[in-house]
């Protein structure tokens, strides 16, 4: 079965992209979720959409951009927006989540305007909305690998600072951890993860891949390291099982991947309930 899958070049690329995304999305996701910023992913994804629209517009009217993937424009937009999110967070210290609707609606507004200004594209915008992992090209794979490496290096180098800032930003700052620099680098990493994930799950489902495996992992994790490891395992299962199922059943890959992730979350929650229930029952039996 695996040989059949790997026989196809597009499937190989899809698997590589999926495995990388399934690694970096949950890692970044753990930090976002514990900082109660998981919706930032959604907001940045919508900004990326407007970037992609701008890229498509340029492709249509400027000859020099004809061969440039609009995803690069999306990446640039979401990186700028992520810097903006940091500024907003600084401005509204006690309403940090306010940055999310501001960026989200701004992103959608701009995207819709740009798409309407282009008067329709010959490229399918739906591919960006819902993902089209099976159509990932060779140059895009390189970009995804690059983004993946960047994100891994950032998290590896600044793990301690990211942990301290996520757990207790105030104390971390008093201890001399450079908050603004680290937060900025991290937002750039988030922007990269989102752009890289768009091909795999699509703009509308990006935050699903970032948060669902983390939601499941938080049910089980005791320590922060465990939270990361479990989230990565759940994300990998989702991506691989989702891709294979999508291939054989001819379903939309992004949706299938996210559905598997939802399924895992439900299973984990159910199993946890069951274990607690059984323990209680055992206690009752032994104590009479």
């Amino acid at each position: 079965m695996v040989e059949i899958l790997l026989h196809y070049g597009f499937m190989q690329r899809a698997l590589i992209a999926g495995v990388i995304i399934g690694l970096i999305s949950p890692i970044v996701g753990v930090f976002l979720v514990v900082r109660r910023l998981s919706l930032i992913a959604d907001a940045l994804a919508h900004v990326t959409l407007s970037g992609v629209a701008a890229g498509l517009l340029l492709q249509k009217y400027v000859a020099a951009f004809a061969m440039v993937s609009p995803l690069y424009m999306g990446m640039a937009f979401s990186m700028v927006a992520s810097v903006f999110v940091e500024q907003l967070r600084r401005l509204y210290r006690s309403y940090q989540e306010l940055a999310i609707p501001v960026i989200l609606s701004g992103g959608i507004g701009l995207g819709v305007v740009l798409i309407s200004a282009a008067n329709g594209f010959n490229v399918d915008v739906a591919g960006y909305l819902f993902g089209s992992i099976l159509a990932v090209g060779k140059s895009e794979i390189l970009a995804i690998v690059g983004a993946g490496l960047f994100v891994l290096v950032i998290v590896f180098l600044f793990y301690k600072e990211l942990f301290a800032l996520s757990f207790d930003e105030e104390s971390a700052v008093y201890a001399g951890i450079p908050r603004h620099g680290i937060n900025l680098l991290f937002s750039l990493a988030v922007a990269l993860v989102i752009t890289a994930s768009i091909r795999v799950v699509g703009i509308l489902l990006v935050s699903g891949l970032i948060t669902l495996p983390v939601a499941a992992s938080l049910q089980l994790a005791n320590s922060f390291k465990q939270a990361i490891v479990y989230a990565v395992i759940f994300a990998q299962i989702s991506v691989l099982a989702g891709l294979v199922a999508a291939f054989y059943l001819d379903w939309a890959s992004g949706g299938t991947i996210v559905l598997v992730a939802v399924g895992i979350l439900l299973c984990v929650m159910g199993m946890k309930r069951l274990i607690i229930w059984m323990r209680k029952r055992q206690d009752n039996l032994t104590t009479g």
Partner: protein, 259 residues
Amino acid sequence: MATWMGVKSIENVLELTGIYFSYENQTVLEDVSLSLQRGEFLGLVGPNGSGKSTLLKIALGSYRPDRGEVRLFEQPIRRFRQWSRIGYVSQKANSFNLGFPATVWEVVASGLYGKMGLFRRFNKAHRIKVDEVIEKVGLTPYASRNIGKLSGGQQQRAFIARALVSDPELLILDEPTVGVDAHSAEQFYKLLSHYHREQGLSLILVTHDVGAVTTYIDRVACLNRRIHFHGDSQEFVAQQQKILSDSYGHEVQVVEHDH
């Protein structure tokens, strides 16, 4: 650690002179001067809203006073960079997200991250240090428990351990024993007292529980917008009634002025 023993002349760890501070249109601190010598254990008391937490934040450089000077370890605060010499446990320390996936060990270890600096990896010596501090605060059996699943008093001890793990010379605690039962609070003061006497740690402790601490602290400062008393704890005990009615008596003095 040896440095403090070798120093002959008395060094001021913290020195606040003529501090004025206001939030928007409300004056919170007026001409506050306060100093802490190396090895001193100061109790800072005052009613709710008297400006204690604000004063500490000014001392830690997160607010800039309207007037007055702050010196840390004999350096003006704007030139001071060695933040790891100061440990701080804020009043809100245990209002963290209770579902946070971190063990007591991970939380305590994070107290070293600022001091270690960027790009440094955690090594064996760091690990031993974390184990030691956890042992000192009596949390060894809970080291690998999730921090959210500890009792309030145990969490408080974990936060103290996080502040102590980087071997600070000055420890600033903003109402650390709120919600801790009398017995645990007693244990907690004994622990602080141990660090104070054995290692010459300088301490500032904000508390409403004046009676409980007078046996452990050297000096008391009583704040209510101004400093109403600053002196030895015996002296404070002797004149307690007068001082407290002086500063607490008319409750918090709020001065509004519009501009």
